[in-house]
């Protein structure tokens, strides 16, 4: 149905046009899902925008053809394109929070499409809207139709977005990272919805994603993009059993996993070449483990490895030789006196209202959390967004003052410390933040950034030498100290952030989703670095994340958080291998697995995490729990000890 041939898109930069997409061709049949897979900056989103002819101002369509049922889209005028956009082809965007207009009701936004493409108005339009909202699984559509986007949760906004996309009854649906901004359990709901709608309507779907798990769940055929080119196209089965291109293979090898615990992950050295400096030959040559002289001279042609499985690579072999797997020294055994002991930590934020700012209630962001971390071990704190896991991290560092409870680091109480005592204690405890672009001051040199903690905390010695040693330790060149943050990529910036935290030789690092803003291959580099550093320095980590693959790979102990409280904790094997709390079970089964056999029995959770300002009575989880009964609605359960380390907080565990 959709036929893209040799599409070339560029961005004007001065007098030059830099090609972001350089000659890609693919086809999508009715009822088929074609997934475009690749790391950030390789031209996936530009492709989608190019198909809709919605490129930003600097964007140019340089050449090629896009045909929808034989009709050339690139030759259409802007006025004619309006009939295609939202009509025959529709798009779903990544961020549901920003893709809906906040000042229009849901009904108005769906109605816009109905009026333009289906000519429906008034009662007929309203009936159709209710129908659409029902189809995308929104309960009580009559009420929702007259609500504004801020009254809806993230998952519901994405459902509304899908309803808008469906309103024009498109033949082709372009989904640009439709679930990246959503929580795991909500992601599972949305993916199911998309798959079901596609099957019902026989739409073609172009799914753009960087997540191999989503690809395994959704796609029929897969195209791997690298630096503006397609490098491999294969069916789902072929793709997951015999990936051909070294890049694809490296992507798989870089995924953290339970089976790779204790081993270093394979990484792809370097980074995606910039648009301005594309290599002449194969674009992956500089990062390829199997590079041959011909790769640098000549861009490889398409080669059909199997029927329906094409690859662009000079190398003819099937499977790369397994990379040398170096094992990483694992941590100390548990059972030592805990380094960090948190008891009944509470952080409540007051809700103020009225002219006099009277406190009318509290957000129970963290509501009685107890943790313990032994020296040199990693505790993963897992949970969906809004469950209070980041607040726990900040409360440990006293960046947010806890409302109640105690935080003892090496026997010393941290809550209530101030001034000099607190400064001394902070030498033991540091934090690595989620977004490497926001965590470094853009106006300071790297050397100054790293040395800041040393000067502030009065760590003596030769600061310049210490900075050099730290840069070496995190794998950055010496001259980095003189440069500014904007000269580094995301992964390199995260290394700088790690060096900064290590500069004061802490015993415990709080890592707040340190890899969630990074690509898979870069994530592997950072995880390797963290693991190596733990082996060398014996640092303990509190690893805050929502990514289960990372937890499986890195964590020794796991604590699962829901709405400000820990619902299950234990060693990694216990919690991940034998989850007992229904929330943990649901969470684990909702994670899309990048394997063919990933489609096991799934537990579907209805709804979304409630607001921590008004937690449900009794067990917080009961409104979504499949096993909930009367007792769950009335009383919060006590912790049930299942082994020395394994505790689950549920009435139904015994």
């Amino acid at each position: 149905m959709l036929q893209v041939k040799d599409l070339r898109l560029g961005f004007a930069s001065g007098e030059r046009t830099l090609l972001a997409v350089d000659g890609i061709s693919f086809a999508i049949a009715r009822g088929e899902t074609f997934a475009l897979l690749g790391e950030s900056g390789c031209g996936k989103s530009a492709t989608a925008q190019g198909l809709m002819r919605l490129l930003p101002t600097a964007g140019r369509i340089v050449g090629g053809s896009v045909q929808l049922d034989g009709e050339e889209l690139l030759a259409r005028s802007e006025a004619e394109m309006r009939a295609y956009r939202g009509g025959r082809m529709a798009m779903i965007f990544q961020e549901p929070a920003t893709s809906l207009n906040p000042v229009l009701t849901v009904g108005r936004q769906i109605g816009e499409v109905l009026e333009r493409h289906r000519g429906l108005r008034g009662e007929a339009a309203r009936a159709r809207m209710l129908d659409l909202l029902r189809q995308v699984g929104i309960a009580d559509p009559e009420r929702r139709l007259d609500e504004y986007p801020f009254q809806l949760s993230g998952g519901m906004k994405q459902r509304v977005m899908i309803a808008i996309a469906l309103a024009g009854e498109p033949e082709l649906l372009i989904a640009d990272e439709p679930t990246t901004a959503l929580d795991v359990t909500v992601q599972a709901q949305i993916l199911d919805l998309l798959a079901q709608l596609q099957a019902e309507r026989g739409m073609g779907m172009l799914l753009i994603t960087h997540d191999l798990g989503v690809v395994a769940r959704m796609a029929h055929r897969i195209g791997v993009m690298y630096a503006g080119e397609l490098v491999e196209v294969a069916s789902r089965e072929e793709f997951f059993t015999t990936p051909r291109h070294p890049y694809t293979q490296a992507l798989f090898a870089a995924l953290p996993d339970m089976t790779r615990r204790g081993m270093a992950l394979t990484t792809i050295p370097g980074q995606v070449p910039s648009l301005a400096a594309m290599p002449a030959g194969c674009r992956f040559a500089d990062r390829c483990p199997l590079v041959m002289p011909v790769c640098r001279e000549q861009s490889p042609a398409w080669r059909e490895a199997q029927p329906g499985h094409a690859v662009r690579c000079h190398w003819q072999g099937a499977q790369a030789a397994p990379a040398v797997v170096s094992s990483v020294a694992d941590a100390l055994p548990s059972g030592q006196a805990p380094l960090l002991d948190v008891a009944d930590l509470k952080v409540h934020f007051p809700i103020r209202k009225g002219i006099l700012q009277r406190t009318v209630g509290h957000v129970h962001a963290v509501d009685g959390v107890s943790l313990a971390i032994s020296p040199g071990r990693t505790l993963a704190l897992v949970g969906e967004s809004g469950c209070g896991k980041t607040t726990v991290g900040k409360a440990l560092l006293q960046l947010i003052r806890p409302t109640a409870g105690s935080v003892r680091l090496a026997g010393e109480e941290l809550t209530g410390l101030s001034g000099r005592d607190l400064r001394a204690a902070r030498r033991q405890l540091q934090m690595i933040f989620q977004d490497p672009f926001a965590s470094l001051n853009p106006r300071l040199r790297i050397g100054e950034i790293i040395a800041e903690g040393m000067t502030a905390l009065g760590v003596g010695g030769d600061a310049a030498a210490a900075v050099r040693a730290l840069l070496q330790q995190v794998g950055l060149p010496d001259d980095a100290a003189e440069r500014f943050p904007h000269e580094f990529s995301g992964g390199q910036r995260q290394r700088i952030a790690i060096a900064r935290a290590l500069a004061v030789q802490p015993a415990l690092l709080v890592c707040d989703e340190p890899t969630s803003a990074l690509d898979v291959s870069v994530q592997a580099q950072i995880l390797n670095l963290l693991k190596t550093l733990q082996g060398e320095l014996g640092v303990a980590y509190l690893f805050i994340t929502h990514n289960f693959a990372v937890v499986e790979y890195l964590a020794h102990d796991v604590a699962v958080m829901y709405l400000g409280r820990i619902v299950e904790r234990g060693s990694a094997d216990e919690v991940l291998g034998n989850p007992r709390h229904p929330y943990t079970q649901a969470l684990l089964s909702a994670v899309p697995v990048p394997r063919l056999d990933g489609a096991g029995e799934r537990i579907r959770l209805p709804g979304e995490t409630p607001s921590p300002a008004k937690p449900p009575s009794g067990c917080h989880f009961h409104p979504r729990c499949p096993q909930a009964t009367e007792v769950c609605r009335e009383r919060y359960p006590d912790g049930k000890t299942l082994s020395d380390t394994h505790v689950a907080v549920c009435h139904w565990v015994n």
């Binding site: 933040f433 989620q434 470094l440």
Partner: protein
Amino acid sequence: MSDFQIVVLWSDILVWLLLAAGIGLGLLISRSPPLLAAWRRVGASRPGMASATVLLAFVLVGLLDSLHYRPALESQPGEQTQYAIEVLSVLDALVGPLRTENEKTYSSPLATHLHAKETTEVPGVGTVREFPRLKFGGVHLDDPAQRGGDVAMTALRAVGLAALVWLALAALVAARCGGWAAVWRGRTRFAWNAVLATLGAMLLVLLPVFLLAGDYHVFGTDKVGQDVLYQILKSVRTALIIGLVTTLVMLPLAVVLGIVAGYFRGWVDDLIQYLYTVLNSIPGVLLIAAAVLMMQVVIDTHPEWFATAAERADLRLLALCFILGITSWTGLCRLLRGETLKLRELEYIQAAQAFGVSNWRIILRHILPNLMHIVIIALVMDFSGLVLAEAVLSYVGIGVDPTMTSFGTMINNARMELGREPVVWWSLAAAFSAMFILVLAANLFADAVRDAFDPRAA
């Protein structure tokens, strides 16, 4: 015994200090790559550089007008040298005749006769009502009817001269920047083509004006016969001082209060917010009028403070700047408070807090540098607003001293002239155009600066 005595007015000190600060800031910027890169983007912007060229011309006039002296009076040898009561500036000396060649009253641009008829005694004829010849405008002409040809010839000579000067300048630039083609096609990193084009336009206008100014009153004369062109040149300094010194007064207030409110929040924030909300809700002109009138009373009751009228006018100007500054910091303060609220939640600030870096050090190292782009933008944007504010205040009669020339006083005087028949339009038109060009240039430059410092574009 020199033949002049240097007079240093307070505003002169401020002007030259500002210039020194500007140069110092430039040196600092050249050491900080991100700021340097942003200014390079300003340099590459064509409208930005064109307006900067115009602004530089204004600044040059203002600077020349900020070197004051009192000339010595003619005295007998052996006597103590006496200095004139009048304070002159280098600009006055340069334009020489423009200042001294005063007519009796109104005369239109490039006129040879007065604007109004007068009764004169003509020997043998008796009293006649006629337009008398000007004392200075066009006196070199034997027959006033030759004026058209003479003006055209002078203008033509000036245009030819302008072309020569411009070609020389352009050749110099081309030689230094790798040839004509590179300059014209905009391939230089600095927008030389815009600068050259603006310079060309400016030469084409200014050279004829100044060549003609030797023989004529190019923009006419006002009620007391003063040359309007001279008044405009003198107004430039007033406008620049109002624009620059006022920002200097409001900047520390706005920056310190804004950052403190945003960073510490709590009761400090409440206090500062109440302060600027209250200040904002008092009508601005009323507040300024009250302050200016009080200041005027103080100045009038202490004549012994000032040696010359120029010193009194100067102090009044500074006081006006101060009052304007005190009342206009709220906008920038609110902007900086908001930005600080955003910045303090950023992770690098939290990382610094986790290291136990002190609050003031965080403000200096992490917050202030990241607010600088807003400060620079606000600075340039406020400049034009303040120049306009001065015109409004002088029009209402609470602006600068009446003896000081400013765009506002010129417009104020022109109010009556528009009611005359035939109408006297040139004074207002000239003041209006000069102010328009200054403010437009400042606004365009502010736009270029804002674009260059916009973090989304960088």
